[in-house]
Amino acid sequence: MTGRDRISAENLHAGYGTQDIVKAVSCSFAPGTFTGIIGPNGSGKTTLLRAFSRVIPSGGILELDGKAVSDHTPTELGMALGFVPQDEARPFSYTVMQVVLMARYARTSRLGSLMPEDYSRCHQAFAQTGVAHLADRSIRTLSGGEWQRVLIARALAQDTKVLLLDEPTSHLDLSHQSEILSLMRDLAESGVTIIGVFHDLNLAALYCDRLIMIQNGQMVADGPPAQVLTPEKIRHVYGAEVVTSCHPATGRTFLMPVKTQNGNGSALSLMNVQVISGGGSGSDLMRFLAGKGLAVSAGVLATTDSDYLTATALEIPCIPVLPFSQIPAHALEKLRTMLAKADKIVLSVHPVGTGNLPVLQVLRDMNPARIIIHLPEGRDFASFDFARGAAVTAYHDLRTAGAYTATSYEEIVAFLRADALRKPQR
């Protein structure tokens, strides 16, 4: 804990009744930072935020500007902390203006009338959140998104050094999401400490400079988005499969969910399938097979090949080699060992030149009953031959030796499934 921190918590516990939802959280927030709190449903994100805003009782140490939160008066807290709830009840028809002016309560005396600067601050907040045109509307007539922006405007008009946001963009459309979050970024850069609960991990990664991941009320990760949003952590905390990458346009981490392996007891999930492809012919196939829950591995792939990119993104093991060069002997040796371990080999028919011809020769040494050749309907081997007939011969030899030929992905899976069901009877 340094004296510079706006908020610092040490061994913070909080919850409802006797049960602690937030357990032993220690963290601190410096001025001018934008931190995202992430975690699965029910992990205690909102509870943690409400503990920071002291509306629920908490144990442990919680300091605001170096002074225990409990030593601040409610008025001081109203001037120091702004809070944007996910939603708020609207039982009475206040106008938007009336609701936003409530932000100034902490700064005016009980019956003291508002000063021109109070009004100008509110108008500024209206402009920042794009709700100026709603000022005289009854809050009961607003849409969910409009109301959320009014709540944000009210928190802004409070003029606080700390802003706590509980899923501030949950009701907003795409353009308002980015407007509001860019505004928060700007505020952070001007020195405001912003802490937000986020459901959308990509939004959090895009705008926050730090993410805190919560699971069962405990902090499991704390750091820059790139360090927190790793496939391993997401799998561990959310139980979801994702691929992460650095977005080429924003330079920020982003992630994509991939189909969860719904093992559903299918025999397929126990199967090791090696995909031999090249020139992008295997990308769709690998995604398809991985999506069916199969353990997929790939073969020798040049690092410029889109198949290579797909394999890395899906965390599929493969043998990377330099593009436009002969496949080195050790790579072929490695391929042999991998093929030996695979239950089935799917050979996606792909362009073959003298460079990658040795791969087909390796396959000829394997038991043809383990090989499935995928040849898209209406195509023939000749159109993939760039080795003056040698490739056609190699493909034909595999087929005549007894390799199964499939024309669609579904056919491949059907074949694999039939095979998997036969196996246990052996």
Partner: protein, 315 residues
């Protein structure tokens, strides 16, 4: 809002006019200038105290109703929601059945306050309490007390009539002391709630919101409940449980002036007072002094339905 001041001025004029006019209306039928013997007596010691008591009680109920609606974030809340009326009814019934009708107001007051204290202590048992818990506890305690009142009615014999009349509320026995007493409660408690106006505004969006806006939500809640309890217990002990005034007046005011409680509270004093004085004058002049609660419900319920019909939404 720009119309606040003119509307408040109009309501003030209407309130004074109502008090003056209603003092000169009654079954004895005196005109404004009457020299009939006893006229001064009837007007000074019977009608004026009754009109003033009705005004202050109506104002108390309306103000407490507005405060409760804001506190409970619910426009359907009424001042009796935490059990004051059933507590008062129990106190009054006990006095009627066991003490031959002596000290009914005192018993009613004690009953009302005891009911609130029970609700507070049950709801606050765990330290942290929500207004929702308070509301549910209030309803439960109300039902329990009402059950005892029903039991007392069943065994009351000849006193049934008295209990039922008390339950419906009225100003038959309003004395100058009642008028003074109700004013003495209304002025400080009404002022207190007026000063709590912005706290009420914030509380009406939720206690957490109020806290986030820098308001000591717990203290505000107890202050509002304390002020309202004084108002309602006073009203109940003087006039029994008169329905609808506390529910409808805040709605009328919000329709006229919007929901800002810094305006709603003072306006409720005027509107609640006017409404109850007119209702009481109607019953004592034209309906052989039926309980005024019948009149308020008779006017209030259809009015409320019309209000919902018109607006399609609450104020």
């Amino acid at each position: 809002m720009t119309r606040t001041v003119p509307v408040i001025i109009c309501l003030s004029i209407a309130a004074i006019t109502t008090i003056v006019l209603c003092t000169f209306i009654g079954p004895a039928g005196f005109g404004f200038v009457s020299t009939a013997s006893g006229a001064a007596d009837i007007i000074g010691s019977i009608r004026l105290p009754r009109v003033l008591a009705a005004f202050f009680v109506g104002a108390s109920l309306a103000v407490a109703g507005a405060a409760m609606q804001a506190l409970f974030k619910n426009p359907m809340a009424d001042p009796y929601i935490l059990g004051t009326s059933s507590g008062g009814a129990l106190g009054a019934s006990l006095a009627i059945v066991f003490f031959g009708g002596l000290f009914v107001p005192v018993f009613a007051w004690i009953g009302a306050v005891v009911a609130i204290l029970i609700v507070w202590s049950i709801a606050g048992r765990r330290g942290v309490i929500s207004v929702e818990t308070l509301l549910l506890t209030g309803i439960a305690v109300s039902f329990f007390f009402s059950a005892i009142v029903s039991f007392l009615i069943a065994i009351a014999g000849q006193n049934v009539h008295q209990i039922i009349f008390w339950l419906m509320g009225g100003f038959w026995n309003a004395s100058p002391a009642d008028a003074v007493l109700s004013a003495c409660i209304l002025i400080p408690a009404g002022l207190l709630l007026f000063f709590m106006g912005r706290d009420l505004n914030a509380l009406s969006l939720g206690e957490e919101t109020a806290a986030h806006l820098g308001i000591d939500a717990a203290r505000a809640r107890w202050t509002v409940l304390g002020g309202s309890t004084l108002l309602v217990a006073g009203a109940v002990s003087i006039a029994g449980s008169i329905g609808f005034v506390g529910l409808v007046c805040p709605h009328i005011v919000r329709m006229l002036l919007g929901p800002d409680n810094r305006v709603v509270i003072p306006a409720c004093i005027l509107v609640g007072g006017i409404l109850l004085v007119i209702s009481d004058t109607l019953t004592r002049t034209y309906f052989s002094d039926l309980p005024v609660g019948i009149i308020t419900a008779f006017i209030g319920a259809p009015f409320f339905i019309w209000l919902i019909w018109q607006r399609g939404e609450v104020t």
